[in-house]
């Protein structure tokens, strides 16, 4: 394959920050990217992930920090001189140029010979399987095809770095899955170093080699998908990694990392991520799939609580069940059978899979249950 990644050893972001009129959109981002890596920047809307990407692309000047490639600064270069490819959320194709012309644009800007341009455009078109559409205008293509053109336009330049800004968020669910595989395939076959912005944790976990979770412009955690999935650093990362049940509790006993916490008759044994002491206010995080419904009659088992079924959703192999605890808390759980609405059930959790985080007093106020639900609706 002739299209290949531009070469470098490492890309380093050193204390990168950006503020807009005194408001910090991105604070102190430190990241070392190795050539060929696929990094996902993950976070809710307004967390600074797109700001970080635009800073990398050179579309936004930095207010703090440096960006270095193999030790040489690139943040002082203009966007047009960085040689990074960028794929935009709304594709940003040139509406007045044919697909072919769109893909050739960057090559023409580099004043490459005509035959060279032809050859590389043909290759890029073949790569994204759009051979029959080269003479059409972008408006005549479907969303998925337009996104493929945008990707071809970026990779045809053999960029040192490909930046993708939520490229799949405008596509429907089925196409999104297909394009996910497609991007992954391109990444692997071309060895492109990619930085991918998304708010979809599933997308990030399935595609990236490493994830950077951002919140309010600050890095929460950097790690491999497995690390983030199994061992989130704090309650925000946990929330974002699919721990839908976040419970504010008070510690009643501590034995090493095994702790028991309770609140209003709801008692749970779990694993403390950070050291906590008896009487501390904590936030326990549990995935719906780790909180299982057991019939009330079985009883007497370990680490169980009672609740009433309020919502049952069919999810194919299993049922997603919404239950209400006696204190009125709504929990998301899983069940292999459909319990009757209004019936009492027992919920069982494996203590190893209940993560207990010390609650940050400022956070508790900043992110109430209502706000969290609002956030879920938004993302």
């Amino acid at each position: 394959m002739a299209i290949a990644a531009g070469t470098f050893e490492s890309l380093e972001l050193r204390g990168v920050g950006r503020s807009f009129g005194g408001v910090d959109a991105l604070v102190d981002l430190n990241l070392m990217v190795r050539a060929g890596e696929f990094i996902a920047l993950l976070g809710p809307s307004g967390c600074g992930k797109s700001t970080a990407l635009n800073c990398l692309a050179g579309l936004l000047p930095l207010t703090h920090g440096q960006i270095l490639i193999d030790g040489a600064r690139v943040d002082t270069l203009a966007a047009e001189d960085r040689g990074f490819g960028m794929v935009f959320q709304n594709y940003a194709l040139f509406p007045h140029m044919s697909i072919e012309k769109n893909i050739a644009f960057g090559l023409e800007m580099r004043r490459l010979p005509k035959q060279e341009i032809r050859r590389r455009v043909d290759e890029a078109v073949a790569l994204v399987k759009l051979e029959q559409h080269v003479h059409k205008l972008p408006g005549q293509l479907s969303g998925g095809q337009q996104q493929r053109v945008a990707i071809a336009r970026a990779v045809v330049l053999e960029p040192r770095l490909v930046l993708m800004d939520e490229p799949l968020s405008n596509l429907d669910a089925k196409l999104r899955l297909e394009m996910r595989t497609e991007i992954r395939r391109l990444h692997q076959s071309l060895g492109l170093t990619t930085i991918y912005v998304t708010h979809d944790q599933e997308e990030a976990l399935s595609m990236a080699d490493r994830l950077v979770v951002l919140r309010d412009g600050r890095v929460q955690q950097i790690g491999t998908p497995a690390e983030l999935h199994d061992a989130p650093r704090n309650a925000h990362v946990a929330d974002f990694m699919g721990y839908r049940n976040l419970l504010d509790l008070v510690i009643t006993s501590v034995e090493g990392t095994s702790v028991t916490a309770t609140d209003q008759g709801f008692t749970l044994r779990g694993t403390a991520v950070d050291p906590v002491a008896v009487g501390d206010r904590v936030r326990a995080a549990i995935r719906p799939e780790d909180l299982v419904v057991v019939p009330a009659s079985e009883g007497a088992s370990d680490n169980t609580n009672v609740a009433t079924v309020s919502i049952v959703e069919y999810h194919g192999r299993e049922f997603a069940v919404g239950v209400t605890t006696p204190s009125g808390r709504l929990l998301h759980v899983r069940s292999d059978h459909a319990p009757a609405i209004g019936s009492p059930v027992e919920l069982r959790a494996d203590p190893a899979r209940v993560l207990v985080f010390p609650s940050d007093p400022s956070d508790a106020a900043a992110l109430s249950v209502e706000e969290r639900e609002l956030e879920e609706v938004r993302t």
Partner: protein, 310 residues
């Protein structure tokens, strides 16, 4: 009764006639067009046809002087250098003014697309002249730029010039007046066309290595061109029909003897209504020729969606 036709592909509608007409847009809501139709006939179609009719009823004096029977007025229009020259004099004003207004509005709109301190004030200052009448503008120009005006006195005092500049009562007076009244229109139109172009398209060109000249020439200008053409037509038409300022700040019998003035002269001074109508009709014809040329040029350009909010 629905019967399958011989082809078997279409079935006859069972809906009532009224329903079928409504499907084609023929229903009682058409009465809402009535006032518009009445006004269009009474105030435009009838007088316009009457005026065209008048042009073919030349006065006996015209017929005697120029010949050509019922076409005497048209013969006079093309043969009489005093009349025909006004076409050139009007074009000499309207074309440069329209080009100037469009050319100046483009960088202005680009700058005012960004956010910066004082943007609202600047926009307001640019648009404010729309509210000024032509007469007010003319009066202001005479006071400001006349031989004894502030501008000349200031330039004389600081020693830049030793003779007052002649800026009014000639070509330039009318030019300035037309720029003052036409530029805000051009600026507003081009700004709205520019806001219709998605900024991420330019950002994409930037990441693909295009510098600002290449971005403007290859991406923004082609997307903006249909808007520029429309803006050019509108400011051209505004400038072409210039009448008050040509008289007030121009040289009404010399450099700025525009077609509108010639028409007025025939109408009010020579009381030759048929000739006045002929000049008015020819004004329309000349404008249409220019508009047609621009529209033909525009038809070769991309006119689809540009992705922005416009």
């Amino acid at each position: 009764m629905s019967a399958v036709t011989a082809g078997g592909t279409r079935t006859r509608s069972t809906a009532s006639l009224r329903h079928r007409l409504a499907e084609r847009g023929v229903d009682s809501s058409l009465f809402m067009l009535l006032p518009a139709i009445v006004f269009a006939i009474a105030l435009f179609i009838y007088p316009f046809s009457y005026g065209i009719g008048l042009t073919f009823q030349p006065t006996l004096a015209m017929q005697a002087q120029w010949g050509g029977g019922i076409f005497a007025n048209y013969v006079a229009f093309f043969r009489d250098p005093f009349v025909f020259e006004s076409v050139y004099l009007t074009m000499r004003l309207a074309l440069p003014v329209a080009l100037f207004n469009v050319a100046v509005s483009v960088p202005l709109s680009f700058k005012l697309r960004q956010r910066f301190r004082g943007k609202e004030t600047l926009t307001m200052l640019l648009v404010l002249p729309i509210t000024l009448g032509t007469v007010l503008t003319a009066q202001g120009l005479l006071i400001f730029a006349g031989r004894q005006g502030w501008l000349n006195r200031f330039l004389l005092q600081i020693g830049v010039i030793d003779q007052p500049l002649t800026l009014v009562n000639n070509y330039w007076g009318v030019f300035f007046s037309l720029v003052i009244s036409g530029l805000p229109f051009a600026f507003l139109l081009i700004s709205s066309y520019l806001s219709g172009i998605d900024p991420s398209i330019e950002a994409a060109a930037k990441t693909l290595g295009a510098n600002w000249v290449q971005r403007f020439r290859r991406v923004t200008l082609p997307l903006l061109a249909p808007g520029l053409a429309t803006t050019f037509i509108l400011t051209f038409v505004l400038a072409f029909s210039v009448f008050p300022s040509a008289r007030l700040v121009g040289d009404a019998m010399g450099e700025t003897r525009v077609m509108a003035l010639m028409g007025y002269r025939a109408f009010a001074e020579q009381l030759d209504y048929p000739m006045a109508s002929t000049i008015a009709v020819m004004m329309g014809v000349v404008e249409l020729v220019i508009v047609a040329i621009v529209l033909v040029w525009r038809s070769f350009m991309y006119k689809g969606s540009t992705g922005g909010k416009g």
